[in-house]
Amino acid sequence: MSEVKHRALTIALLLSLAACTTQPTQPTPSRQPVTVTPGPATTLKVLAGSELQGMTGVLDRARAATGVTVEPTFTGSLDGVQQVAAGAAYDAAWFSSSNYLRTYPGTRDRLSTSEQIMTSPVVLGLRAAKAKELGWDSRPVSWQDITEAARQNRFTFAMTDPNKSNSGFSALLAITSAVDGAKRALTKDAIAGVAPQVSTFFSVERLTATSSEWLTDAFVARDKEPAGTKVDGLVNYEASLLALNRDKRLGEPLTLVYPTDGVVMGDYPLTLLDSASPTARDAYKRLVEYLRLPQVQQEIVAETLHRSVLPDVPRADAMPADLAQIPFPDSWAVVEALLHAYNDHLRRPSRVVYVLDVSGSMGEDPTRIAGLKKALHDLTGTSTTLSGEFCGFHKREEIVFLPFSSRPGKPETFTIDESDPERSLARVRRAIDALTPAGNTAIYDSLMVAHELAKPTPDRFTSIVLMTDGVRTDGAEVPDYLKFVAERAKGTTAQVFPVLFADSADQEMKQVADATGGTFIDGRSGLSEAFCKIRGYQ
């Protein structure tokens, strides 16, 4: 230590001691080091949850201070587990919950050290007027109260797909555990007993998505819809909900509801993977040290509205303390059982119209029709991957195939039987095998038919998947279709999810998605993966 620095330190110590003696009730300064020694410029490849997109500012400053550039690849929690288990080439993983990586049997040995960076509970945000109407702005609310209000159809909400995203899974876990009476950590066997009440809650779910970020944006986009069709609230991280209020992205603020019987907390562990190189390990250490600095923790609270892991960094104003916590089951078997129960029994079932291009070009390159058939077959339960296991067709679901070429074909509807799903799935597989390419490509005539088949109903999520390998060559054109959509009453148009494939007209596909509140998915690097991804919006 140089003499100058030493003097400065002495003065600083004297000043801080003076401060202590005059203001004894102030929180004492933290014991953490105040700086991080910068190291060589290193890029850390991090598999991350989408909600960490809000950390950009913090990570930019981290790069300046430490030389470590975080290169994030965003994906869902369950997909992340699968990638880590498969030994994907990342240095670290950073998701909102430690519980998936910790309990999944295939990942335990792939994890090295881990550090909790911040926390945020998953709660329900309701539009202020609706919260007032329900009396939830002024008294304690339990999950039982929420379920009862759902039974009376007094509110609607949005939530991410628990198969893809931790915020959705956390809500599913919290309500299931709470209805079970919170008498014990949730077990596999307890799930069936509470299914009727839990499915009542989900009966008022109106909007879903694969990620918390997308859900928030879709919720904001619907804010301008009339009162009858816009969604009353959404389940998300406290941090995201408070940010919506702070940034005034909605016409009226959200009231946050923290159920008294418990919430699930996100703990955001930055986890080094076993396979990281010594250079990456060193970078990880510097980054973590930086992120835990008291002033950086304060910035995280101020900018992203997460809660700090350092007890002496205060919460933001609107954050209540002493929350009751719902235990996250210490068993992958429970996670799996809860997801299967959700898909087959608890969730509001969906009706999906698949608009499938079987024009001549799909057969001229035989790999195209074969790829489509394989992707659809995977959804009938033949996929063996972890996310494949959860993205197949579910019990009670309605599937409509609308093949088209020069004109829309004959729609065929399948309902997956709750007691004998295999029989229904066998019918679906036969219909897939029967798809035969020939003729032109009447995309928009077919989409218009699809909208008639996918009219929203209170008891189902409805959506349309459009899969085409080329441009429209027959029938209505894209302006005709956009006019058709614009003229429909608000809230009566199902979202369309186009899959970009082969020679599809990407710009037009984006227009279709935007006009209907859907999103396009790139299927060029794998149709099966794309079809699986879309399932998170259905």
């Binding site: 881990s114 008498k183 954050m319 235990p327 210490d330």
Partner: protein, 374 residues
């Protein structure tokens, strides 16, 4: 309710007069040190060694604060060491050391069992017992009152102790806090749990497992391998009902201090409690009955590591700083401020092999996803 933030509650410890006196002493000390450094130059006091070697240490997270203390770093530098630490659960240290083969000088776990494991995995015999800390249960006054009314806690020789056997029974019987007759308002319908770290990863959790194993075995003697299946079943609820557990003691303790969620009982090191300056208001500390103390040993893998272990074991300056951080240096009668010696029986922990087998069997039970067998 939820929309009404509660003010953050904090309480200082100790009278302000004492703080003032200590403050003045510190100022004097700093000034004297500042003056002396002007004459001795860069390396500090004149009795410091010139050669400084880097030491890479894998430490239990409860010791992180100690090694982050600039006074500790200065003293270690004076003794010839710059220390670079990474923290890990005590049961994960052997794996971390192997991952970074040749680059780790010491591991510094929190129990004899964890130390034995590392020594056998890394094939080294060199260890230095540095300090100890009894395990405590941190809580709040309302919870202690509720447990006392329930006759699960009592005051023995002026110290609040909790009967671990009763806690195990309450957890296994699916009790909520509101089920306790003594619960102040009877409205907390969340489960009665004793939070700990994951015993398969972290030493403080392992200490709870060790203690619970002895308690349920009902035997004062050493737990035998033959008893393992029965003990695993009996202690299983303690770990299952908590749900997912942290892998570092520091994270659990900070969660309790931070009060984002309400933790009514957490099993931690006494040192963590004694050294914390931001304890929640109404905080309380219970000693488990029977009790268990953690012994923290440096396991050396290199020559530098051996010298480092020796210094921690014998240096008076470092020992004083250990006391400041709430630890009890080995072979030193001095006690950290606030430490108490209870009259309760201290158990002898089962061997590492027995604890590992217990962990394996408990993990197998938990993995099934249906809680614990009746």
């Amino acid at each position: 309710m939820s929309t009404h933030p509660r003010p953050r509650r904090r309480a200082g410890r100790g009278p302000q007069v004492a703080a003032l006196v200590i403050g003045v002493l510190l100022i004097v000390a700093v000034v004297v040190y500042g003056l002396s450094s002007t004459t001795t130059g860069v390396s500090g006091a004149s009795d410091c060694v010139d050669d400084v070697v880097p030491v890479h240490a894998i430490i239990g997270s409860e010791k992180r604060v100690y090694f982050e203390d600039s006074a500790v770093r200065d003293r270690l530098r004076c003794l010839g060491f710059t220390v670079d630490t990474e923290d890990a659960g005590s049961l994960e240290m052997a794996k971390r050391a192997k991952e970074q083969s040749g680059k780790v000088d010491v591991a510094f776990p929190g129990s004899d069992a964890a130390a034995d494991n590392i020594k056998s995995e890394l094939r080294t015999a060199d260890d230095f017992a540095v300090f100890s800390s009894p395990m405590v249960i941190v809580s709040d006054n309302a919870t202690v009152a509720a447990l006392r009314a329930d006759k699960s806690a009592e005051v023995v020789g002026g110290v609040a102790v909790v009967r671990l056997e009763k806690i195990i029974d309450l957890v296994a019987a699916n009790k909520t806090w509101a089920d306790l007759v003594g619960d102040a308002n009877g409205t907390d319908r969340t489960r009665l749990v004793l939070r700990s770290t994951n015993p398969a990863a972290s030493n403080s959790g392992l200490q709870l497992l060790a203690l619970a194993a002895v308690v349920v075995s009902g035997d004062a003697g050493q737990v035998t391998p033959a008893q393992v299946p029965d003990i695993a079943k009996k202690v299983c609820p303690l770990f299952w009902e908590q749900g997912g557990k942290q892998i570092k003691s520091d994270e659990l303790f900070r969660e309790w201090v931070g009060q984002n969620s309400r933790i009514r009982l957490a099993f931690v090191y006494e040192a963590q409690y004694l050294a914390e300056r931001n304890l929640p208001q109404d905080n309380a500390r219970l000693y488990p009955n029977p009790g268990i103390s953690s012994v923290h040993r440096v396991i050396a893998f290199t020559d530098a590591g051996k010298r480092f272990g020796g210094a921690l074991r014998s240096d008076k300056g470092l020992a004083d700083l250990m006391i400041k951080h709430g630890f009890r240096p080995m072979g030193n009668p001095a006690r950290p401020s606030g430490a108490v010696d209870t009259a309760v029986t201290q158990v002898t922990a089962p061997t590492f092999e027995v604890l590992r087998e217990l962990n394996n069997q408990i993990t197998t039970l938990l993995d099934k996803g249906n809680g614990c067998p009746k």
